[in-house]
């Protein structure tokens, strides 16, 4: 066992008992990033000097007895989080040299806890993608099979956890971008209820869907991270002003009598055999733990992808209008006038997937099409939300697959955007409904690729799904398997 193999709670124990210092743990991870990240490409920016300085400061806090659970823990953040003074690119050429003048609230909160920042992680450009292939900094590779995608858009975050290149990370999830890569890389990924965690300083993709969440080795670490980042933020008017429970206290319950819904629309005939088998095994495990299963229906599931790709792209077209070469980011060298400057800067700076989604969104919002596309999608969103409200009258949470197949090969779906979009079918509904959902390791395919299961909870029911996830983790060994990289 190396220091880079340890979880947050394991490292914390060693720091508290003075057996190991944060500096030693940080050096262990930085050395591993150096040798191993070239095979994975999880990092866009490694903040080596800063990490060492953070570790020294953390060790001082630990020596004084002023340390918390996260003090001295080496973390990395998806490159979508603004980190003052540290290059933040959102994996785009258009922000290639952007140095933020302020930090995301979630990073500030982690800094207050005394974490060590190792660097910024690779992702799909502007969080638009399910494979990390649209990054301007090259694809990230799945640590379990480097010819495969790690998932996306938080591909770097998931791969870093799986390859032990960071003790834990933060990602963002708009249509599944935490849960799907967590599933493909065998780590824990949680998307909180919309409004649970501040979006201030998180580069916006689709503002009514984006959420920040932890990606970790195990459920305990996930609860520790959620404790640190959750809560109201006056700088984010969409953040909710309700108390944050101690999520780690939720981990000592049992699931006896827990009612878990199985939505028939998610257990389709075309589901990959290994995924189906992992789900069947998971259901048996939960039954043995005393949970009860209820067949439910979420009738509008089939319309979720269409709804999402209208709402998210419309919101993105508005959010990305700010990248025009005036105040920050890439500006073209030669232009004939202001409009030409903006057009050329954007066209040179954005990748193909980003352009595609901006155009789809612009089309959906344009005169003549606004009602038929955007408003229609918002109405279907209401129906999708109602499906969940109705289901949660009968069950405490819902169990589904995360992805229809395990991780596919790099390059396999890149030329068929619609096929790529359709693979988000199981994760998108929770974003549309605004509720919380998480992915945990639940098995492996015949070829050794990870398969996750998804727990969808009631709004602000993160404690319940964490309890159920923890119980499953205690009863299985999936989370103990590590990628041989």
């Amino acid at each position: 066992m190396e220091l880079f193999d340890l979880t947050i709670h394991e490292l914390h124990e060693l720091f508290a008992s003075k057996k190991v210092s944060s500096l030693e743990a940080t050096k262990s991870l930085l050395a591993r990033i150096d040798t191993t990240d070239p095979k994975i490409n999880a990092y866009i920016t490694v903040a080596g000097e800063k990490a060492l300085a953070d570790a020294v400061a953390a060790d001082q806090l630990i020596a004084k007895g002023a340390a918390g659970t996260l003090t001295g823990i080496p973390l990395a953040l998806k490159d979508i989080f603004l980190t003052e003074g540290i290059r933040t690119t959102c994996a785009s050429r258009i922000l290639n040299n952007f140095i933020p003048p302020y930090s995301a609230t979630t990073y500030e909160k982690l800094k207050e806890q005394g974490i060590v920042l190792l660097g910024k992680l690779n992702q799909d450009e502007f969080a638009m993608g399910s494979s990390n292939e649209s990054s301007a900094f090259g694809p990230t590779r799945n640590p379990w099979d480097t010819s495969c995608i790690p998932g996306g858009s938080s591909g770097g975050s998931a791969a870093a956890v799986a390859a032990r290149l960071a003790t834990a990370t933060l990602g963002t999830d708009t249509g599944g971008s935490i849960r799907q890569p967590a599933s493909h890389c065998s780590c824990v990924g949680l998307k909180p209820t919309y409004g649970r965690v501040s979006r201030y300083g998180v580069i916006a993709y689709a503002s009514s869907l984006d959420q920040v969440g932890p990606m970790t080795r195990d459920v305990t670490d996930c609860a520790i991270m959620l404790n640190a980042i959750a809560g109201h933020d006056p700088k984010d008017s969409t953040s909710v002003n309700t108390p944050v429970p101690d999520y780690t206290a939720a981990l000592t319950g049992s699931v006896k009598g827990l009612k878990i819904g199985l939505p028939k629309e998610y257990y389709i005939d075309g589901l990959d055999a290994d995924v189906q088998s992992a789900m069947n095994q998971a259901i048996e495990t939960y039954k043995k733990l005393g949970a009860e299963f209820v067949d439910i229906s979420l009738p509008h599931t089939d319309y979720a992808v269409a709804t999402y790709y209208l709402i998210a792209t419309a919101e993105a077209s508005s959010n990305l209008a700010r990248y025009e070469g005036v105040r920050f980011g890439h500006r073209t060298e030669q232009a004939e006038g202001l409009i030409d400057m903006m057009t050329k800067s954007r066209s040179e700076g954005f990748g193909a997937e980003v352009k595609r989604r901006i155009m789809l969104g612009t089309y959906a919002l344009s005169s003549g099409y606004y009602d038929a596309y955007y408003v229609k999608a918002q109405k279907v969103r209401t129906l999708i939300m109602r499906d969940f409200i109705q289901a949660f009258n009968d069950v405490d949470m819902i169990l589904t697959p995360v992805a229809p197949t395990p991780a596919f090969k790099i390059g396999e779906k890149i030329n068929d955007p619609l096929q790529m979009y359709l693979s988000d079918i199981f994760t998108i509904p929770a974003n549309l409904a605004g509720t919380c959902a998480m992915s945990i390791p639940a098995g492996f395919s015949g070829s050794g690729l990870p398969i996750g299961l998804q727990l969808i909870g009631k709004p602000f029911g993160e404690d319940s799904i964490l309890r159920a996830a923890h119980a499953f983790e205690q009863a299985t060994e999936w989370h103990k398997r590590t990628a041989q990289i």
Binding site: A306, H330, L338, K379
Partner: protein
């Protein structure tokens, strides 16, 4: 209804994007497929259903009307591609 290169050019202009001829054709085909797929929303009767723009029930979130420090001119101009005194400098508007 098929998405044509003319449609792509129109939308690109609205979005301040310019595409190569090759990309225009490629995007027309891809957008056509995607928009064709989202047509399935027409199958659903949404009469009387209100659109959802916000997932969590919330009211307007106001703060007290008090002056607070802002980021300051220097920080705001830090990443300016071109700066003149306290201004962002841009090419002039050509009509």
């Amino acid at each position: 209804m098929k998405i044509t290169v003319t449609d792509v050019e129109h939308v690109a202009r609205l979005a301040r994007l310019e595409l190569s001829e090759q990309d225009k054709t490629l995007f027309a085909g891809q957008m056509d497929a995607i928009l064709g797929y989202v047509e399935k929303l027409k199958e659903i009767d949404t009469d009387g259903i209100l659109p959802t723009s916000h997932a969590v029930p919330m009211e307007n979130s106001f703060r007290a009307d008090l002056m607070c420090p802002s980021i300051g001119t220097d920080k705001a101009l830090q990443n300016a591609p071109d700066r003149a005194e306290t201004f962002f400098r841009v090419p002039k508007v050509i009509e």
